[in-house]
């Protein structure tokens, strides 16, 4: 009954989205507050209905209602409750429903919190959001209905892939989608501005909070995914340049570029066309990701059932939405006049440089991801583009960006003074270089490349700290003055500092971990020992353990350092009888910044006839920073978001005064 109710609510959501589109568009065109208001009401209704469907789907999963095809294919009675709930968005159909939920949710948010926006802009934005809602809800209702029933009801479900039964992955999609789909609002605002033919500082101020929110969510989502890969897959790696990872990374890169160019537009009125273009591109990349992940055109393996027919539909949806967006852009962009002159050395120029590099990086990831398809289509040759390619092209681009990054916030708008920046930053550079040299001399084996990576990381952190010190006049003004300045500093400035320093923290971790990871492997019988850097590992025991829906072989590995106990690792090999799948559960002994990472291999015959297990272990130095850095960046985004200058009311005052 509840399932039918959910299916009905989904159709209702589609109809309400269509009403949202029509009412808001007509309301905007005729300047009718009544119609626009009705359109906003429809937006709220569409969100409520989608939410009801979503709850109904979760209900079906929790109750293990296998008469629902989606539940039968992705759930199982013995599955822990968390994964029954998370299973609701673990499948193709469920994830599209989540996509629609977030999409209509953002639409409802614009409808309810946008009172300060000019009525027409708001009406057109709500209308565009409605149009996107129609496209994706229609797809969900007609081609990917999560509430579809089975005539032949199975007794037991097929269960969710055990690799996905993991807390980090349960929360990964909601964050990712809040990011991905958050860019839809930016897309809608861009369309609204293009329809009105006006892109100005006030528009940038309205768009920035949405961009910041989406970007922060996406940052957290990608980090969770990388963290999951790190501890669940048992390779010790955290980023593989896999097409699916790239699909989520491209909107992030474009979103980062957009965050910066929107600042230029807001403060200086420059780059309106480019900023709108990025606004359209960010969501286009989100849609491209949705298509790539689900269509199976690329050889990446993903939890979603791959379906070429649906892939074509998703491609069509993307074509319609992006096509309309860019056609509108081509039509209106020439008439957008750009204010704000600036000199080659200025903060505007620095941000333009940032945008050029980030866009180039996006192009590299895009072409790298699609290149196997391009070659296949042109001369039929199968090629692979993997991590070595991206490391060789993407990384130098980022190093270039990061080399100039600390100078950006220190440059004045319009016309900056390069010498002044050098005078302010030499300390950061000196400290970074010295620390890099120390690492080169002390850490073994010596690696010039990794030491250079550390220099870049320290340079970013030092630059961010110095910039903050400069703003509060630390060490140069009396303490009371410094405190007054620090409390008076806008939240946006703190956010910038945090985000840039967070990037530095990430670079430190990535450089250190990638180069100085220590690896050891040995087939051990019970009592056998393995040396891992300064640590000794002893396989003390191997027993069995039982979880709710799996049985496991659990090794007990005692780790000591110079005879003193460090920790006891319990890596497992889990067998899930439902899907006849085996997974390895890595054991991690966290130190402050490092991880001791132990993987239990399969049982084999040892030397003396006793069973032995291949034990692989890593010391992953500074690996914590890899996940901490992006988290700091996301927190920076949220801190900026709380800046009072970004609230709608302020923007309205600006508008009135202008």
């Amino acid at each position: 009954m509840i399932t039918e109710f959910g299916a009905y609510a989904l159709v209702l959501a589609l109809i309400l989205s269509a009403l949202q589109l029509i009412l808001s568009a007509v309301g905007g065109a005729r300047r009718s507050a009544l119609l626009a208001g009705a359109g906003r009401g429809a937006a709220l209704g569409a969100f409520l209905c989608t939410a009801l469907t979503f709850l109904a789907l979760i209900h079906a999963f929790v109750m293990s209602d296998f008469s629902v095809a989606n539940v039968a294919a992705n759930s199982h009675t013995a599955k822990p409750m968390l994964y029954k709930v998370a299973g609701a968005w673990g499948s193709h159909e469920g994830s599209m429903l989540l996509w629609c939920l977030v999409l209509t949710g953002y639409g409802a948010a614009v409808a309810s919190f946008g009172e300060a926006l000019p009525p027409r802009l708001r009406a057109y934005a709500v209308a565009t959001q409605g149009a996107l809602g129609v496209l994706f809800l229609a797809y969900t209702v007609f081609a990917s209905n999560p509430m579809a029933r089975l005539y032949d009801v199975p007794v037991e479900g097929a269960s969710l892939n055990p690799l996905l039964q993991d807390p980090a992955l349960a929360f990964h999609p909601p964050f990712l989608y809040c990011g991905y789909v958050g860019f839809s609002v930016v897309f809608s605002f861009a369309m609204a501005a293009l329809i009105e033919g006006r892109v100005d500082a006030a528009w940038a101020r309205w768009v920035r909070p949405w961009t910041l929110a989406a970007w922060s969510f996406l940052t957290v989502g990608i980090t969770l995914g990388a963290f999951w890969a790190y501890y669940e897959l048992g390779w010790g790696g955290w980023w593989f340049w896999d097409p699916v990872e790239n699909a989520s990374f491209m909107p992030w890169l474009i979103g980062s570029a957009l965050l910066h160019s929107a600042v230029v537009l807001e403060k200086r009125g420059a780059l309106p066309g480019w900023t709108v273009f990025l606004g359209l591109a960010a969501f286009t990349f989100s849609m491209l990701g949705a298509f790539l992940v689900r269509s199976g055109v690329l050889t990446s393996v993903h939890a979603f059932a791959v379906d070429p027919t649906r892939g074509v539909l998703l491609l069509t949806i993307m074509g319609i939405a992006a096509g309309a967006g860019f056609a509108m852009f081509a039509l209106r962009a020439p008439s957008l006049n750009s204010g704000g002159l600036f000199a080659p050395v200025s903060r505007e120029s620095a941000i333009v440089l940032n945008n050029i590099i980030l866009s180039t990086a996006t192009a590299v990831v895009l072409v790298g991801t699609l290149f196997p398809l391009i070659r296949e289509a042109t001369d039929g040759e199968a090629v692979s583009v993997g991590a070595p390619f991206f490391n060789m092209t993407f990384v130098p681009l980022m190093v270039l960006a990061m080399a100039v990054l600390p100078a950006g916030p220190l440059l004045a708008w319009k016309r900056g003074d390069a010498r002044l920046v050098v005078r302010r930053l030499w300390l950061a550079l000196a400290v970074a270089v010295i620390l890099g040299l120390v690492a080169f001399a002390v850490v073994s084996p010596r690696s010039a490349l990794a030491s250079a990576g550390l220099v870049v990381g320290f340079w970013l952190i030092g630059g961010a700290v110095l910039e903050l010190a400069e703003r509060v006049k630390a060490f140069r003004a009396p303490w009371a003055e410094v405190r007054r300045r620090a409390t008076g500093l806008p939240r946006g400035a703190w956010g910038t500092t945090l985000a840039h320093a967070g990037l530095g923290v990430f670079v430190l971790g990535a450089s250190f971990e990638t180069t100085w990871r220590v690896e050891a492997a040995q087939a051990l019988s019970v009592g056998g020992q393995l040396k891992l850097g300064a640590y000794e590992l002893t396989l003390t025991d191997v027993g069995t353990a039982e979880g709710g829906n799996y049985i496991a072989e659990r090794g007990i590995v005692t780790i000591t350092k110079a005879g003193a106990p460090v920790c006891e690792a319990k890596p497992e090999r889990r067998f899930y009888p439902t899907g006849k799948q085996t997974t390895s559960e890595v054991a991690i002994c966290p130190k402050v910044l490092d991880d001791l990472y132990v993987v239990l291999g399969e049982r084999r015959a040892g030397d003396n006839g006793q069973p032995a297990w291949l034990v692989r272990a890593f010391v992953n130095p500074w690996v914590r920073l890899i996940f901490l850095g992006p988290l700091i960046m996301a927190i920076g985004g949220l801190v900026s978001l709380s800046d009072r200058r970004l609230r709608f009311g302020v923007a309205r005052k600006v508008e009135k005064a202008a």
């Binding site: 593989f240 993903h302 000199a343 192009a363 993997g386 799948q581």
Partner: protein, 154 residues
């Protein structure tokens, strides 16, 4: 989010890992070189994984091939050429510089140059309009007053 099936396939036909002592070459220098090469060679049955990461048995076979060749003293280039001849370009995770791959390798350069040219145009247009826009930049009294209101808002 990746490579679930690989993991499963790997479980189905386990063949140890790249670091497995049973596979290692006795000479640590040669072994280190072999590991370097592994990172650029694709495990053919896997989705997007190097033979250094993979536990699939075919990856183990390929590691054996590479290690044998390293042991015979062949250069990295020769080994790569050998692998391409046997398995096609698909086996390399970093496509070689060739006409067919020109687009791939030229993308960063083209995009950067394009961006640079656009920036130059932007700056040049700016400086040209700056000369005759000098007056326009000076604020009128009314504008000055409005500016004060705005600044107070901040």
């Amino acid at each position: 989010m990746k490579r679930l099936l690989i993991a499963l396939a790997a479980v189905a036909c386990m063949a140890g890992a790249a670091a497995d002592p049973a596979e290692r070459l006795p000479d640590p220098v040669q072994e280190a070189r072999a590991r370097e090469i592994f990172r650029e060679v694709r495990c053919l049955v896997c989705q997007n994984e190097s033979i250094d990461d993979s536990e699939a048995s075919l990856a183990g076979d390929l590691r054996q091939v590479v290690r044998d060749q390293v042991k015979q003293g062949r250069s990295d280039k020769e080994i790569r050429a050998f692998l391409v001849e046997r398995y096609g370009e698909f086996v390399l995770l970093k496509p070689p510089f060739s006409l067919g791959n020109a687009l791939l390798w030229a993308t960063p350069g083209i995009a950067l140059i394009l961006g640079g040219v656009l920036m130059m145009l932007l700056l040049r247009r700016r400086s040209a309009s700056a000369v005759d826009g000098e007056d326009a930049q000076r604020l009128s009294q009314e504008e000055e007053a409005r500016l004060q209101v705005l600044l107070k808002d901040e």
